[in-house]
């Protein structure tokens, strides 16, 4: 047992649901008790999704405990197949079904007999994998399933596309700025003359998965999601993949050079150097920013970075290599992939922290006293408590991290966004600091907001006690209304009852 107040990565089924609900016309059925369908709320709220989230629950209740699910799961799958005709139904196990140990695979096989669409059991164990690992596995599983199916039917298209083309793998619903990143990556590919063969899984149709092998290469923008799929495609179809995250100027260039190499090996004869130079020097503002005197002022400032592998590693490199900021600590909560992280950030930071314990991270921040933090929503709140500004760079995230405006983190526009994020965090910190030294904006005595009427009224103790329970921002108004009410009625004492009588009368 572990005492936990907060977790960075969610449970396994969230990963599976993120994959299933990213595809078009794929439905997930959770084998779970009432209330575990909170995923639908998150998707509907955070992404402001206009469509119903294609996730339903086959409810595990007392009857199921007593007799097993029996026909229930099968019926629910067949029912959903008839109602919405999805191409694929993914039966999703949860922590509950992990311990019930029912033969879900058998349910899937039986349901398949009566379903028009395909039915799969997500192969994830709640106690072994977290959200990110489960998402990676489920995507791999679905891709494998449809490629096997196409191979059996002899429907696999042969050969590559005529023009160089790419599959972009790993963009999902509820991913950090994924929809903006997707647009930016497509633009980048268009600039390079590369056709996008498929984007996976967001917006993809399972029917089109058989075309994946036609791409010249796969691009895996995020470390956490899509790698196993890319490895599978390389093994079985020889498709090479590029797994450099194009985040920051240097890494974007490195990504493009790898793409260039991969394409040239297949005889494309492309040269992206001129494009990289043009973008770096004149289109992206990041290179210029790092030379400008603004950025000079950031030299040697201390920062702490914490997040998932992809973002924490990329931001660490940007801060250290592109802005001359001293990263005193870089950390990740992706414990299962810690070696990769160490290797990536080793040269760019003083200290590496691998942990899922938010208190440990908060303590490290308090000890290091950085000038700015780049982390998740949790670190933002640590920053609030310690009075250190924080830029949010990674999930877990809140609704404000699903901006409507265009805010990619990858590609050349992404570098501009990063500059704003980083620079704004630091200047806010400086401004705060200066204010403190000079004693605030307004050093004269504060004029009270309350216009004190020479009151003939007496607030009794309980009246005041109740008044103090009213939230600060309306308290003044309630106080004035109550006093007017008391005066109108010739009351001299104001107690709790008068206060509430006034509230009713005036609707204050």
């Amino acid at each position: 047992m572990k005492l936990a107040y907060w977790m960075y990565a969610g449970p396994a089924h969230i990963g599976t649901l993120r994959i299933a609900s990213s595809f078009k016309n794929v439905h997930a059925i959770m084998h779970a008790p009432l209330g575990d369908d909170y995923f639908n709320v998150m998707r509907s709220m955070l992404e402001r999704e206009r469509n119903f989230t294609p996730v339903t629950t086959s409810v595990v209740d007392r009857n199921v405990l007593a007799r097993g699910s029996q026909e229930k799961v099968v019926d629910n799958i067949v029912r959903k197949d008839g109602e919405e005709h999805p191409d694929l139904i993914v039966l999703t196990p949860t922590c509950t079904s992990s311990i019930l140990q029912e033969d879900l695979q058998n349910f899937v096989e039986r349901a398949q007999l009566d379903s028009k669409g395909d039915v799969l059991l997500a192969d994830v164990n709640h106690y072994r994998y977290n959200e990110l690992q489960a998402a990676d596995r489920t995507l791999g599983q679905i891709v494998r399933f449809y490629l096997d199916k196409a191979a059996k039917k002899g429907e696999l298209p042969s050969g590559k596309t005529e023009q160089p083309s790419v599959n972009i793998i790993g963009l999902t619903t509820l991913g950090f700025h994924n929809n903006h990143d997707c647009t930016e990556l497509k633009r980048l590919m268009a600039d390079l003359g590369i056709t996008v063969n498929a984007v996976l899984p967001e917006g993809a149709s399972v029917q089109d998965l058989k075309n994946l092998p036609r791409a010249w290469f796969n691009l895996i923008p995020y470390r956490e999601l899509g790698l196993s799929t890319a490895q599978y495609l390389q093994e079985h179809f020889g498709t090479p993949y590029v797994d450099v995250t194009p985040m920051g100027v240097v890494e974007t260039a490195r990504c493009l050079r790898q793409i260039q190499a991969v394409l040239n090996e297949q005889g494309a004869a492309v040269n992206y150097e001129a494009y990289i130079e043009e973008q770096t020097l004149h289109v992206s503002q990041a290179a210029w920013f790092s030379r400008s005197i603004d950025c000079q002022n950031l030299t040697g400032k201390k920062a702490v970075v914490f997040g998932d592998n992809t973002h924490a590693a990329a931001i660490t490199k940007v801060l250290a290599r592109e802005m001359g900021i001293q990263v005193v600590m870089a950390g990740t909560y992706c414990k299962y992939d810690a070696d990769w992280f160490r290797e990536q950030v080793g040269p760019y930071c003083d200290e590496v922290l691998i942990s899922e314990d938010n208190a440990e991270i908060a303590n490290a921040i308090a000890r290091l006293e950085p000038a700015a933090i780049f982390g998740t929503q949790m670190e933002r709140h640590v920053g609030k408590r310690l009075d250190i500004p924080c830029g949010v760079i990674s999930a877990p995230i809140h609704i404000q991290n699903f901006p409507i405006g265009y805010k990619p983190f990858v590609g050349y526009e992404g570098t501009n966004q990063l500059v704003d994020l980083i620079y704004n965090s630091f200047t806010l910190g400086m401004e705060d600091h200066l204010l403190e030294i000079f004693g605030g904006h307004d050093t004269k005595d504060v004029i009270t907001k309350e216009m004190a009427p020479d009151s003939d009224l007496n607030w009794t103790k309980d009246g005041l006690a109740e008044l103090n329970k009213i939230p600060g921002f309306v308290r003044g108004k309630v106080k004035r209304n109550t006093e007017r009410f008391a005066r109108d009625r010739g009351l001299s004492d104001i107690n709790a009852e008068v206060l509430y009588a006034a509230k009713e009368a005036v609707g204050a």
Partner: protein, 469 residues
């Protein structure tokens, strides 16, 4: 909306598949830890439970909440680790860091399935570490959303003292009268208050967790009728749980407290006052009248008071009259809210509700029926354990003016031109008593006012292909 069907004479109860969206009952820790100031809630469950709490509670999670997960690992599930030792380690840590007056263990689906004997472990551990441990099995296998509070309060009811000897402790046990009288001697307080003289009646305990201002309002409301509230379950602090002796009267303030009511009746030998719930001015009046009638008191000035409240609501009532409402059902407040909205002049197609206790809600159901007859509107259909998919079909067919629903369906319905109100807000807003009737309507009319503000834009349906649902 079709009124072609002949009006049914009695309420019509249905039960569907139970395939609906609601919050897990462990969410009750979010408001109960704030209500009971010296408590600590330990949810014994998995990452799934933790993830739900963390996301559902939003910013509250950062405010150093007095709740935490005891996250079960594979070793706990396969019994390689000893439950007792593990819980002892965590509770000792909680005692050291927070020193609460009570630790509430919330049992979850997982502890049910692996049959962890929390009720058995608690008294042993309680004796060992010296902090009361209350066990509530608020799990998704058995309960929905607000029923979580019910399981906690039912467990708390067993902890209310039944006899008090020391006089100074007695004072502490009655914080409400202390607050209202503020240290003055009792006779003095009565003489000065100018309210109805306190009537001699058997002790009354109210149950249900409400924000403190609402507790004060309802207590004052009864005081006006000369009724003294001798305690609330729960109180502000665990150490202030009310005294409950055999023969006390008890009355609920929320519709989801069936287990607590049962426990008070059967285990504590209380007499339950079955009343409609004080939600809306009609409900509040009926609630007070029922309590008065049990004590043989003639209620004073209630009719005028109710009329006055209705008068002050007129601007909102104009927006609601003649409109229709559909409750998908997820928090058990549905019947009371529907009854109030029908009294406001709305019609109601359907009241979805997770669980319907016809005995505990008997008076509320009777008032609903009576309200429908008086307002001349058809009786709504009450659907227990609804099926959200079927409900969406019915919504498409009926096109109600307002759908009260969970967040999972709200945005998609709005995108299809169906006006919605997020149901959870009714759980967290102050909706009880005369004075808060306005707050309910503030919530219920907000989407309608938004519609009025935006009506000239012509952007109602914002999905491309009108999907099946």
């Amino acid at each position: 909306m079709t009124l072609a069907n002949p009006q049914p004479q009695a309420l019509n109860f249905d039960c569907e598949t139970g395939n609906y969206h609601t919050f897990c009952p462990i969410s009750c820790v979010a408001w109960l830890y704030q209500k009971i100031e010296d408590s600590f809630f330990l949810v014994i469950g998995t990452k799934t439970c933790g993830y739900f709490l963390q996301n559902a509670m939003g910013v509250m999670i950062f405010a150093e909440p007095r709740y935490a997960m005891a996250e079960l690992e594979e070793g706990d599930i396969s019994a390689q680790l000893n439950d007792y030792e593990e819980l002892k380690r965590l509770c000792a840590q909680i005692k050291r860091d927070r020193n609460p007056s009570v630790i509430v263990w919330i049992g979850t689906c997982t502890t049910e399935i692996i049959k962890m004997d929390l009720e058995g472990l608690a008294p042993k551990l309680e004796a060992e570490i010296g902090i009361p441990i209350v066990v509530a099995r608020a799990n998704g296998l058995d309960y929905a959303f607000t029923q979580g509070e019910d399981t906690v309060l039912a467990a708390m009811a067993a902890r209310c003292p039944d006899k008090i000897t020391a006089p100074e402790e007695k004072e502490e046990r009655n914080p409400i009268s202390r607050l209202l009288n503020f240290g003055r001697k009792k006779e003095e307080a009565i003489a000065e208050s100018g309210e109805a003289e306190s009537v001699d009646h058997p002790p009354l305990v109210l149950f249900g967790s409400l924000p403190d201002p609402v507790v004060t309002q309802l207590t004052l409301e009864l005081k006006k009728q000369g009724i003294q509230v001798s305690g609330w379950l729960p109180a502000k602090r665990y150490t202030e749980l009310p005294l409950i002796e055999e023969g006390y009267y008890a009355c609920g303030v929320n519709p989801f407290l069936s287990r607590t009511a049962t426990t008070l009746m059967r285990r504590r030998k209380c007499k339950l006052i079955g009343a409609p719930f004080p939600i809306g001015p009609d409900g509040t009046r009926a609630w007070i009248e029922k309590i008065c009638s049990v004590f043989g008191i003639e209620p004073q000035g209630l009719e005028e008071r109710e009329a006055k409240i209705w008068e002050s609501l007129e601007d909102y009532l104009q927006l609601l009259r003649g409109k229709s409402v559909f409750f998908m059902g997820d928090n058990l407040l549905e019947v009371s809210l529907a009854r109030f909205l029908i009294r406001c002049g709305m019609t109601c197609h359907e009241i979805g509700i997770p669980y319907m206790d016809k005995r505990y809600q008997g008076a509320e159901l009777a008032l609903l029926e009576q309200t429908c007859h008086q307002m001349g509107v058809p009786l709504p259909r009450i659907v227990e354990k609804p099926d959200n998919y079927n409900q969406l079909q019915r919504i498409a067919e009926l096109s109600p003016d307002l759908v009260i629903t969970g967040m999972a369906h709200a945005n998609p319905l709005e995108a299809r031109g169906v006006t919605t109100k997020w149901s959870v807000e009714f759980t967290f807003a102050q909706i009880h008593g005369f004075a808060n009737a306005r707050d309910i309507l503030e919530l219920a009319t907000r989407p309608l006012r938004r519609n009025n503000n935006l009506k000239e834009l012509g952007w109602e349906k914002l999905v491309k292909d009108e999907a099946k649902v």
